[in-house]
């Protein structure tokens, strides 16, 4: 008999978490008892795991793992860093942004690291970086004419290019395999609750695989009384479109990331400056605990 596992979400339940909750429901059917708490941001979720108040968290705690030396390990990649530079028609390729101001999420955050890597790869330099958190807020700033270029997530990119395609377009971008969101927990906890973790990981994998075949299964399988089912109709009606786009855009890895993702992450976050030290010294086992995923596969 295991206690309820406590899951720390990094945002409030919304369309992006629908698949996750479907997986949780499947896991529950297999005997996993859980409760969840939504935190304001990733850092708080990470902190709650660090302090042992929560069991499993949501986020990409690479620098926390390296700095705090706490035995925190990632077990599953939930989504990839699929972000897109969206600009006015003043720019047609990334290189055009050389020296131009750009709007990002937050300093040191995911979009910031994307910008760093773009600079690195294309040997260019953005101008002033301003920060507004939330892709939708950046879209608002774009629409209000406060900025000409930004980096936003997949669903907002699709929305703005659909509604304001005459003003804005997405610039072509190279592929990124690094994680945006991942599931992580304290290693000791993982080991002593391996049964629960296994159920959980299996459920996630099964959902990701089913979803790849039929994105509309998420909407169908969503519990109408659960946190997603309670969302306003306006949000629910967009679920199918969101997951169709996401699957098409490669947002989810049907294998849960694993070693591939781990290596991509280390390379990415090192390049982006969140992991420090010599790249050769980074050890995959300091960041990932691969066993549950390997077992499930």
């Amino acid at each position: 008999y295991a206690d309820k596992i406590r899951i720390a979400l990094a945002e409030t339940p919304s369309d992006e978490l629908a698949a996750f909750f479907v997986a949780l429901d499947r896991a529950k059917a297999n005997g996993l008892d859980y409760e969840w708490t939504a935190f304001a941001d990733e850092e708080l979720a990470i902190q709650s795991i660090l302090s042992g108040q929560m069991d499993i968290g949501f986020g990409t705690p690479y620098s926390a793992m390296q700095k705090s030396k706490a035995p925190i390990r990632i077990i599953f990649q939930l989504s990839k860093l699929k972000f897109f530079p969206v600009t006015t028609y003043d720019y047609n390729k990334l290189e055009d942004l050389n020296g131009e101001p750009i709007l990002l999420h937050s300093r040191g955050g995911g979009t910031d690291s994307i910008a760093n890597v773009i600079e690195d790869k294309l040997n260019m330099k953005f101008g002033d970086r301003s920060y507004i958190s939330g892709s939708s807020n950046r879209v608002a700033a774009l629409l209000a004419g406060q900025a000409k270029a930004t980096i936003i997530d997949l669903s907002n990119k699709n929305k703005i290019t659909a509604s304001h395609g005459d003003q804005f377009h997405a610039l072509p971008m190279f592929d990124v395999d690094a994680s945006d969101e991942a599931l992580f927990a304290n290693l000791d906890w993982i080991k002593s609750n391996s049964a629960d973790v296994d159920i959980f990981v299996k459920a996630l994998l099964s959902v990701y695989r089913d979803m790849a075949k039929d994105p509309t299964m998420i909407r169908k399988e969503t519990n109408p009384d659960g946190p997603i089912g309670e969302l306003p109709e306006e949000v629910l009606s967009e679920l199918d479109g969101f997951y169709a786009d996401a699957v098409a855009g490669g947002l989810y890895d049907i294998n849960g990331g694993g070693e591939l993702a781990a290596n991509a992450d280390m390379e990415w976050y090192h390049k982006a400056g969140q992991l420090t030290g010599d790249f050769g010294d980074l050890d995959i086992n300091d960041f990932w605990y691969l066993k549950p995923l390997q077992d499930a596969n």
Partner: protein
């Protein structure tokens, strides 16, 4: 405020502002500002949904608990500080510290101490409300007419008696002013706590609606909050008017 000899209730000016809002909404100055009527429609749609009722309950509960502590700790603390030099010297620097600390930044510490649950939310709410209550009570007490204190003492008032029957009443206009503002701040506090600590209650609805740009939903929740703040503030305002008759008659 009187109009044609009728006393207008305190909140009635809101009708004016509401009309202005409706007008701005109708001429579509910004999609952030939908017409008030649309917001009310949305409110009617969602007010008995499960999510809304739960949010109302969660928010109401933490709010009431938060202001309960703010009032019952804040007023006595403020009075004691105004009265007792030792306590004041001991506490005032810390009152200043907590007051000026960005509460956002203190929240992580709170979470370490009290966990992520309701307790932290209640404490954050209390922290939003309590400082103005303390400071106003203190200011009120420090300007009490000394003769009144002497009078109570000369009749052998016990400290408790003096506290309840003199200090509290003599400083009541200031205290009520503080409590009123404290309550209004607590409304904000409870939402911020719900956003910062764990996203529950109205905080969760906010986050969701604003990130999805469901503007009418978003404003509907805000309206509910404003209504809450107003009702409380008006209730206290009514109380305050009952002491107005002597507030300005206190000689120094």
């Amino acid at each position: 405020m009187y109009l044609f000899g009728y006393k207008l209730p305190g909140m009635s000016s809101l009708i004016l502002w509401g009309l202005l809002w409706e007008f701005l909404g109708q001429i579509e100055v910004s999609f952030f500002l939908p017409p008030l009527s649309a917001i009310f429609n949305t409110l009617l749609e969602i007010y008995n949904s499960k999510a809304f009722v739960r949010a109302l309950y969660e928010t109401g509960y933490s709010f009431l608990a938060g202001i309960f502590f703010a009032v019952f700790i804040g007023i006595p603390t403020g009075i004691l500080m105004g009265k007792n030099r030792f306590l004041d010297e001991l506490l005032l620097p810390w009152v200043n510290v907590f007051m000026s600390a960005p509460l956002t930044a203190l929240v992580p510490v709170l979470m370490v101490l009290f966990g992520f649950g309701l307790k932290s939310i209640i404490i954050t709410t209390t922290l939003f409300a309590i400082w103005i209550i303390i400071l106003n009570s203190r200011a009120g007490v420090m300007q009490i007419n000394r003769s009144l204190v002497d009078m109570a003492n000369s009749f052998g008032a016990s400290p408790i008696d003096a506290f309840i029957k003199i200090y509290f009443w003599a400083a009541l206009p200031e205290i009520l002013g503080g409590v009123r503002i404290g309550f209004i701040r607590a409304v904000k506090g409870v939402i911020i706590a719900q956003l910062l600590i764990s996203i529950v209650g109205f905080g969760a609805l906010f986050e969701l609606y604003s990130s999805r740009f469901l503007m009418t939903h978003f404003w509907a929740v805000i309206l509910v909050l404003f209504a809450l703040a107003f009702t409380l503030s008006e209730l206290l305002g009514m109380l305050a008017r009952r002491v107005d008759y002597y507030a300005s008659k206190r000689s120094q």
